[in-house]
């Protein structure tokens, strides 16, 4: 079942850098959908459209629709704050907020008005466990989150998103700065997460795309070249360009 439907989405930034041209496809619920391709292809831009984070950027023109549960989230009238609670995002570089691990995880909930200590504590343990970092930090929840290693920070950032109990999780090259062991932990966490959430991932390599994808979309210079099931797309791509990229002939 499609959780997100993207209909002829086009977008251009004011400085003319990355853009999207007439992109249409559907993103399945409870699956990992991977958006991959060389840099400048529009993957991150698309990701940032899904939670309207592009509102913060200088966008020159955009058109098309994005339906999440049937509602067009590009409609200027929708509640963007509610959307961002429902669609969480993990960034390429872990950015722990300048506060303790616990406060990082409860930040979003407190913004939403949750004050009950028991609820917050429960959310801290649940989301840190889901992000596979609870055992490493449970004894020092009140230390500053920046004191953790990069891999730990990134999992705390994931937990911070999970604490809001979103329905969709966007990850923009979440493992680009991590060592293979940390990367493995994050990838394993994703496989757990997709049981409950819809996961959209921009991987940091084709290999990671191949390892994690249930569905995959190949982007080249703002256009969706090919979209399909992960296995078939990586083993038997239909488009010549996809095959060239997957086999490493360019990129």
């Amino acid at each position: 079942m499609h959780k997100i439907i993207i209909e002829s989405l086009s977008l251009q930034y004011s400085d003319g850098t990355e853009s999207l041209r007439d992109v249409s496809f559907g993103i399945h619920q409870n699956a990992v959908t991977v958006l991959f391709g060389p840099a400048g292809g529009g993957k991150s831009t698309l990701l940032r459209c899904l939670n309207r984070l592009n509102d913060l950027a200088e966008v020159k023109a955009s058109s098309g629709r994005i339906l999440i549960d049937g509602e067009n989230i590009l409609d200027p009238k929708i509640d963007v704050i509610a959307l961002r609670r429902k669609v969480g995002m993990v960034f390429a570089r872990p950015v722990p907020l300048p506060m303790s691990i616990r406060d990082n995880v409860t930040y979003g909930l407190e913004l939403a008005g949750e004050k009950r200590r028991a609820k917050l504590d429960e959310a801290v343990e649940r989301s840190l466990t889901l992000a596979a970092i609870w055992d490493e930090v449970k004894d020092r929840l009140d230390t500053l989150a920046v004191a953790l290693s990069g891999g730990q920070q990134q999992r705390v950032c994931l937990a911070r998103v999970l604490a809001l109990q979103p329905e969709i999780i966007l990850l923009d090259e979440p493992t680009s700065g991590l060592d293979p062991i940390s990367t493995g932990k994050v990838e394993a966490a994703l496989q757990e997460l997709k049981k409950e959430y819809t996961v959209v991932l921009v991987p940091h390599s084709v290999q990671q795309a191949g390892r994690t994808a249930d569905h995959a979309a190949f982007f080249l210079q703002g256009e969706l070249v090919e979209y399909g099931e992960g296995k078939s797309l990586f083993t038997a791509p239909k488009q010549k360009k996809t095959e060239d990229y997957v086999t490493g002939r360019f990129g």
Partner: protein, 301 residues
């Protein structure tokens, strides 16, 4: 535009050139010259402070700081001037600090680059360049006469506030801008409104920088004579002011008065007042420096 680059072989040629004693000597002389210039610039400051300290220290006593002037200000203490300066600083804190920080938040966090905000910025820069005596005259016209506050602490603090605003606004704006953009993006992605992000993250991180600006602004206000000359400063008052509509004595104006208007003034008292004023300003400076360096040591980004 084309730039000329050295070919790699040319660079290695230059690197292979022997570092002769002659070139070493030139370098030494160069460094020595720069060091001397740097030291020379601190001389006037250190000289002034030391001189005032030596001349003024004998005048300082508990009585000097806590009693009223006597004998046409030629003896006794300077309590009313100290209290008056504190009142003026308080007044500036009440008017200029909230307004300045609010303006800085608007400029740094909300305003986009439009003709309006450009005008505001230019206005602030120009405000900072206006001579202080002009502020004094403006304060006389607006607060003392037009708004009928009279020569009063209120009129003087408002005048000083206008003069201080640009300092507070520009340092606070700078402090807000140094908070990394990524914090704002992350906060927004977690469902924060702009104001929630500002209140919970940006202001907290920028606070030391903002405080520094506030203190620097207050420091300037405390030391100024011209703006209070027409708006609130009294030549001599036999009692402490007891309402914002009273005129007040103030340290910088008192120093001006006893240095130029009172015949047969003991020099010691003049230096005593100068030292007290200097102590005010230097203490504030010290506090600002401590806040800044502590925050820098604690900062994690």
């Amino acid at each position: 535009m084309r730039r000329e680059y050295l070919a790699p072989t040319q660079i290695t040629d230059i690197m292979k050139r022997p570092f002769t004693p002659n070139r070493r000597l030139i370098e030494r002389i160069g460094f020595a010259g720069l060091t001397t210039t740097a030291l020379v610039t601190t001389l006037p400051i250190v000289g002034t402070i030391v001189y005032i300290l030596i001349q003024g220290a004998p005048a300082i006593s508990l009585e000097f700081l806590t009693s009223f002037p006597r004998d046409g200000m030629r003896a006794g203490g300077i309590l009313p001037a100290i209290i008056g300066t504190l009142y003026l600083a308080l007044g500036v804190s009440i008017f200029a600090v909230p307004l300045g920080i609010a303006a800085a938040i608007y400029l740094a966090e909300y305003a986009s680059d439009t003709p309006l905000t450009r005008t505001i910025r230019i206005a602030i820069i120009n405000l900072a360049g206006i001579p202080s005596v002009v502020y004094g005259l403006f304060g006389l016209g607006l607060f003392v006469l037009f708004l009928n506050f009279g020569t009063s602490i209120l009129a003087a603090s408002l005048t000083l506030s206008i003069m201080t605003l640009p300092v507070i606004i520009s340092t606070a704006e700078e402090a807000l801008r140094t908070v990394p953009q990524s914090f704002r993006t992350v906060s927004a992605s977690l469902g924060a409104t702009r104001w929630q992000t500002i209140r919970r993250i940006v202001l907290k991180e920028a606070l030391p920088g903002i405080l520094t600006g506030v203190i620097l602004g207050l420091e300037r206000a405390v030391g100024e004579t011209a703006p209070i000359l027409f708006t609130g400063a009294a030549f001599f008052l036999p009692r402490l002011p007891n309402s914002p509509f009273d005129a007040t004595m103030a340290l910088p104006y008192h120093l001006f008065v006893i240095s130029t208007q009172v015949p047969n003034m003991p020099v010691q008292i003049q230096y005593g007042v100068a030292l007290t004023l200097l102590a005010f300003v230097l203490t504030m400076n010290l506090v600002a420096t401590v806040i800044r360096s502590r925050a820098r040591a604690k900062r994690q980004w």
